[in-house]
Symmetry: C2
Subunit: 479 residues, 2 copies
């Protein structure tokens, strides 16, 4: 198509061809416009892409996949771009296209009588939660990013959050999926059946696959009655070990009505107040360990009474040293702001090491103890902050460099801290990713620990479902 | 190896070679000894096999798989042989080997502090439940066959049962799996981590695959605190529709403490008493619909009080017409015997049509109404019995031929009843298998309804994981 004549017509770029095939409205190719889709929200990674495709329908997604295949581009699916492991950020700008689901944000159906809803992948989680709550229903997935993350991303990454101990990971909230496969065909599985045991459950493949096997375009989800009662308490304890004892006790005493059990160190208050300056702290900040606990329910269950009786018992025994129960929704919200402020407070202190670790619950306290000790021996002056969803055996053991560290010192410290923590973690046979996924950030650590049998099976699966390897290459594994 | 000489040595059969390779103790080849492994417990199907292999360890399973491959035999894995869809019964006796997991029945570990256990596939479900309850823990899977079914079979078939509405299908109770793959390699995944989000979750492939992708040899499972309180009630209602209204109400009022909600028609009492002659029926048998409901919990929750208050409200409103609450464990057990007696009572009336249907909960009443009407129009004299796990949208709509029907008449009626019911089911976009799986029995019905995209994907998966197609051929699909 090139021409040597005067007024030569330049061969159109792949991006331009893609745009012509799919339409100007669908395809962005300007670098500045693509930028928000090509950097992660921490700002740690900035990249670019051939194009950003923003389809409005499942058929447009299928057309986009076929066009990309024809042109030899690979596809990085993206939801709200709030992931923490670079799973939705391109890393080969010259041959990758970002496919954003943000325009597929309709709620197709909410059926309160059926305890289910059908929503498109681009639905923002908090909007979905609000819409179902208007019908008296509840979608339990709850995480810090819920104002911007999108349900398709939550499903693709099998997101966790603060309510996992009662309701499970996202996987357990999914009834059905609609998926555009790497050949552009559409797997139609948006059933709302609660029980459907027709053999191998294909949707499980795509949950947690981070877009490496196909593009989730819509999801049918389980709903539960809205828990219109909640009792929230902040408790001071002598140690993480006591917090785990308390969790076991609460699992038995409060049964399946406990919806959150978060662990925090005293430093949490400092960090939260660095992020939110006028945040009230309604408890002495001098205990070695804190738990933020929530019991919730609906109907004839009295969760306030349950919390009261539970705390009376454990205070009397001395397992809990001090505690405050939120007397209003505002007070409860403020307690949660302490928990949520930890992240922002750490971010304000500059680049630091973040982890997302799980070990068996019975070994969590000794793991944290050992890992924090190893960090302080190897990196004097660095500060460990361990907090998280203790009931699930999931801890975010983060390491903050000494204040005044240079950017280079921080990078070195982060690198070193990770290897120190991972060395302890491997001895505990823990997971390097309890809830955040693998993406591109954790691929080397994942790869290094992958047993040969798992690798062979993953490779066989990848080649079976995506033989041209066009779906999110570089994410999870390199094949 | 054959010889024409006097005293000719006959070429040893494949079965004999297998026996020599794996050992006399491991391999049965006598027809009578193999019989119990080659017929289903209903006695509907009787077959045979080349051999029955009964390994005692994972390594022996792996060796058996390699030997079968080398000899060109395919493998039908079997647990307790209590399945209802012929998934574990050979159908090609000349080339299939049954691999029974019955000897791998050790409990490897129960860790109450970790809310987990690790058990071998051949553990009998009730023995496992008893063992964990001795440590104050509870494994929620509960089904009629629990005295003989084995956990590996439960996982392979993703078994359901009466507690699904609170605890989920077996899939949701599994933390990890050890699987012998079709090439004889061992996928080691017996982690007890509650949260582990390292990408694609390989274990999901094998749950519900009914042994078509590999052999589950051990399982790590979630435990919960033992619910030492239970309130059980039998309620009389005006209709199935009211039962579903009651379910919705109970979900809200009793929150996550409701553990069972079973629907039965008045005929249930007759059938149960035909099976268990002196079974007490503590309620008038003249209501059109009955619900057996259980609330359970541990610790500080008062489930008796909750049941009392719930029933007071719904009786006052007229949603429930009559009810009895079990005053003792014996009374509760007797109420459950009514529910469990339905199956045996039907069996005593001779061959009949059984289904395992799910439809969206909001359409269950109209589905049952329509399907029962269609049956009575098409098959005058036949009796429909619809009962089951209504809270999950799961109904067993069975059809009993008129008494005095000949075996041939029964076969014809079963065939006709199935097509009448399935015709209605397809209009409701329901599932032909809510909890029993596909096996060989439902393969034709599954196959006929399988969308092309799903078929392509299942075929690609099968060839990727089991390229020689040796695992349970004929089960779920023919490839």
């Amino acid at each position: 198509m090139t021409s040597g004549m005067t007024g030569a017509v330049e061969e159109p770029s792949g991006a331009a061809v893609l745009r012509r095939m799919l339409g100007d409205d669908i395809v962005l190719i300007e670098r500045e416009k693509m930028l928000p889709y090509c950097r992660d929200w921490h700002g740690d990674a900035v990249s670019s892409a051939v194009a950003v495709i923003r389809p409005r329908s499942t058929d447009q997604v299928a057309a986009a996949v076929k066009a990309c295949r024809a042109l030899g581009f690979s596809i990085v699916p993206q939801g709200g771009n709030t992931g923490l492991v670079l799973g939705a950020i391109p890393d080969a700008p010259e041959r990758q296209v970002v496919l954003s689901l943000e325009r597929m944000n309709r709620i197709r159906k909410i059926d309160a009588d059926d305890f289910s809803a059908v929503v498109e992948a681009g639905c923002i989680l908090s909007e979905l939660k609000d819409a179902v709550s208007e019908k008296g229903m509840f979608f339990p997935l709850a995480l810090g990013a819920q104002g911007s993350c999108r349900i398709g991303g939550n499903v693709s990454t099998n997101a966790g959050g603060v309510n996992v101990l009662r309701y499970g990971m996202t996987r357990e909230l999914v009834l059905g999926l609609e998926v555009v496969l790497p050949d552009g065909s559409i797997l139609e599985g948006l059933s709302t059946l609660r029980k459907d045991n027709r053999g191998i459950d294909l949707k499980q493949l795509f949950i947690g696959a981070e877009g490496t096997l196909g593009i989730i375009t819509a999801v049918s989800i389980k709903l539960t009655p809205y828990p219109d009662q909640a009792a929230t308490a902040l408790l001071g304890l002598a140690s993480l070990e006591d917090a785990i004892k308390l969790y076991r006790r609460a699992r038995r005493d409060c049964c399946d009505l406990m919806s959150a059990f978060e662990f925090m160190p005293p430093l949490a208050f400092t960090l939260a107040q660095e992020a939110i300056s006028d945040l009230p702290i309604p408890i002495s900040t001098e205990y070695p360990a804190y738990v933020l606990m929530e019991i919730s329910g609906s109907g004839l269950v009295d969760v306030d009474d349950l919390m009261q009786r539970f705390l009376e018992g454990v205070l009397e025994e001395g397992l809990v040293l001090d505690g405050t129960i939120a007397a209003s929704q505002t007070q409860a919200r403020n307690l949660w702001l302490i928990r949520e402020g930890i992240n922002e407070g750490q971010a304000k202190r500059g680049a630091h090491m973040r982890t997302d670790i799980s070990v068996p619950l019975s070994q969590l306290a000794s793991f944290v103890d050992e890992a924090e000790r190893a960090v302080s021996e190897a990196l004097p002056g660095a500060v460990s902050v361990s907090y998280g969803h203790v009931g699930d055996g999931n801890v975010h053991l983060n390491v903050l460099p000494p204040s005044g560290s240079t950017p280079e010192e921080r990078i070195q410290l982060i690198y070193k801290a990770k290897s120190v923590v991972n060395e302890v973690l491997d001895r505990y046979a823990g997971s390097i990713s309890a809830e955040h996924g693998i993406g591109r950030l954790k691929r080397p650590d994942f790869d290094a620990r992958l047993p040969e049998t798992s690798r062979k099976l993953l490779t066989a699966l990848k080649h079976a479902v995506d033989p041209e390897l066009i779906m999110n290459p570089g994410c999870q594994l390199r094949f």
